[in-house]
Amino acid sequence: MSDFIFNYIPVFDLFLLHLGFAFSQYIALRSGVFSLATAAFAGIGAYTAGILSVKLGLPSPVGIAAGVVLGTAAALFLSLPLSKLRGVYQAIATVAFVQIVVSLNIYLEGLTGGAMGLNGIPHTVGTPVLFVAAAGVAYMMWAINRTRLGRTFDVIREDEAVAVSLGVPMARYQTLGFALSGGIAGLFGGLEAHHTYALEPNQFGFTFLIAILSYVVLGGRSSVLGPIVGTAVLIALPEIARPLDENRVLVYGLLLILVINFLPRGIADTAIDRLRLRRVARSGSAPAKAGKAVET
């Protein structure tokens, strides 16, 4: 039994790390920002922590904290121009940002180790730290959903015209969501650096971006359970069946197509909706759909 647990600790660690990144992606989408910049913030956080530790010999908590600060700062800096853009334009701008960070990490060889990567980062982060960090962020996301912030994010994402008609200063809320996204990704980037000894610039590129996005799309973009379920499923799948591991990319691709077409709200959100509908139905008062709810 203990053998069993021991074998799965690396997978669990991976799950916790990626869950953090998934939350970063989640909170950006939740606030209605079509951002794919989580990979860039993660890269910034990871390299900040790594460089401060390897080059300056600073203790890892300092480096990780600096990663959070820089991740947040980068997001705040980006949010200004980003608030002028919408939809696919935001997506493209953030992809460009991801590419900028990747190519700078390759170019600034003296600092980052270039294409060879940054090696010899002290391994100071283990499962307990990752668990506390992921649980803390999950709690924060849950708290947001429970207060006015969550309600405001909902209306911004669903309908901007309604949001402003209710007096919501959209730009401010989206900046907030984006800054949280940057801070969380920065934190888990730093944790990843101290969890894996070495960093490699392409690690936080397009492939990373797609994986993180897949977690949130698969799990769901509304409830806190969404990123948790999505990350768990996609991390666990290859472990359950070896053939799935060999075809990991193929499975990701097929899942993305199927989920967005047939379960567009994701596993968790759809399940929650179903449960709620059932509860409402059981409580008696059937919806008064008198056959006239015709959309114009």
């Binding site: 121009p81 493209i92 460009a96 900028i100 397009f206």
Partner: protein, 296 residues
């Protein structure tokens, strides 16, 4: 030296134009970013390589690439987008769905090619170099320019001089209005997707010939470059994409020739980012990107 680089850039730019035109055409009619476009491009290179390796002439290979990539592009539309357009969630959904399709196509190509890097047989294209006013141009480069010019010209005639082109432009302007004048938008969409895929396919062959490095992931950088080009030219604009592709090709060869190697991508994506901030609708665009944010 500079003149030579500009010429080289112009030639590469012509190939970029083929790739970016297909990408922007689809965005023009459906406001969809087809992120599987890079994978379709890759397939184009592989199909031609396969035909040539069977001992058949290159021209036959190009023809095969056109047909296969055109059909593949239609298949992507059918599988990934047709359903999403009915539910009206295509902006976010189509990006996810086409990322999925790209991953699937890429994996299949990877499997079939055993992750090898292929090149066209040496004798596929006779190596001949011409000198003109101090500038050197190879026969292959002439061929590339010829192909690109021919196809771009054909596309222009198709769009601006035929009834089919009028249909495309009508659908681009307004889907509802076009159905009123008895245009079946779905048929038009399918045809546009075929053209889009065919152009990507030819671009794939030309890139495969020029850089003799055909592998399953070759489409990814081109997809990223296409972002830059279509934003520079204004998303959805055909003329804009053509000019932007040529400019981009020249800019790229110049940065490669005169700047430290690692910096090229940083500069390219920084430029993309800045263009989005300053002129989100491209250098030649008129209106502001996206819908309202406030008083406009």
């Amino acid at each position: 030296m500079i003149a030579q680089q500009l010429l080289n850039g112009l030639i590469v730019g012509g190939v970029y134009a083929l790739f970016a035109l297909g990408f922007t055409l689809v965005f023009g009619i459906q406001k969809i970013l087809n992120l599987a476009h890079g994978a379709i491009f890759t397939v184009g290179a592989f199909v031609s390589w396969y035909v040539v390796s069977l001992g058949l002439p290159l021209l036959l290979g190009i023809l095969a690439s056109i047909v296969v990539c055109g059909l593949l592009s239609m298949l992507v539309e059918f599988v990934c987008f047709s359903r999403l357009r009915k539910t009206g969630d295509e902006e976010f959904g189509a990006i996810i769905s086409s990322i999925g399709a790209g991953l699937v196509i890429m994996t299949v190509v990877q499997r079939l090619s055993n992750t090898r890097v292929l090149r066209f047989p040496f004798e596929t294209f006779p190596v001949r170099i011409y000198e003109f006013a101090g500038l050197r141009i190879t026969l292959l480069q002439l061929f590339m320019v010829g192909c690109a010019a021919l196809l771009v010209l054909a596309l222009y005639i198709l769009i601006y001089r035929t009834s089919f082109g009028r249909r495309i432009r009508a659908v681009t302007d307004n889907e509802r209005a076009s159905t009123l004048v008895a245009i079946n938008p779905n048929a038009t969409y399918r045809q546009v997707y075929f053209i889009s895929g065919a152009l990507a396919g030819v671009a794939g062959v030309l890139v495969g010939l020029a850089f003799s490095s055909i592998h399953f992931a070759m489409g990814e950088p081109y997809l990223l470059f296409a972002f830059v080009i279509v934003i520079l030219g204004g998303l959805g604009s055909i003329l804009g994409a053509t000019i932007a592709a040529l400019l981009f090709g020249m800019m790229q060869t110049l940065t490669i020739a005169f700047l430290p190697s690692g910096l090229t991508n940083t500069i390219i994506f920084l430029a993309l980012f800045l263009i989005l901030m300053v002129r989100p609708n491209g250098l030649f665009g008129k209106e502001a990107a996206g819908a309202l944010r406030g008083r406009r």
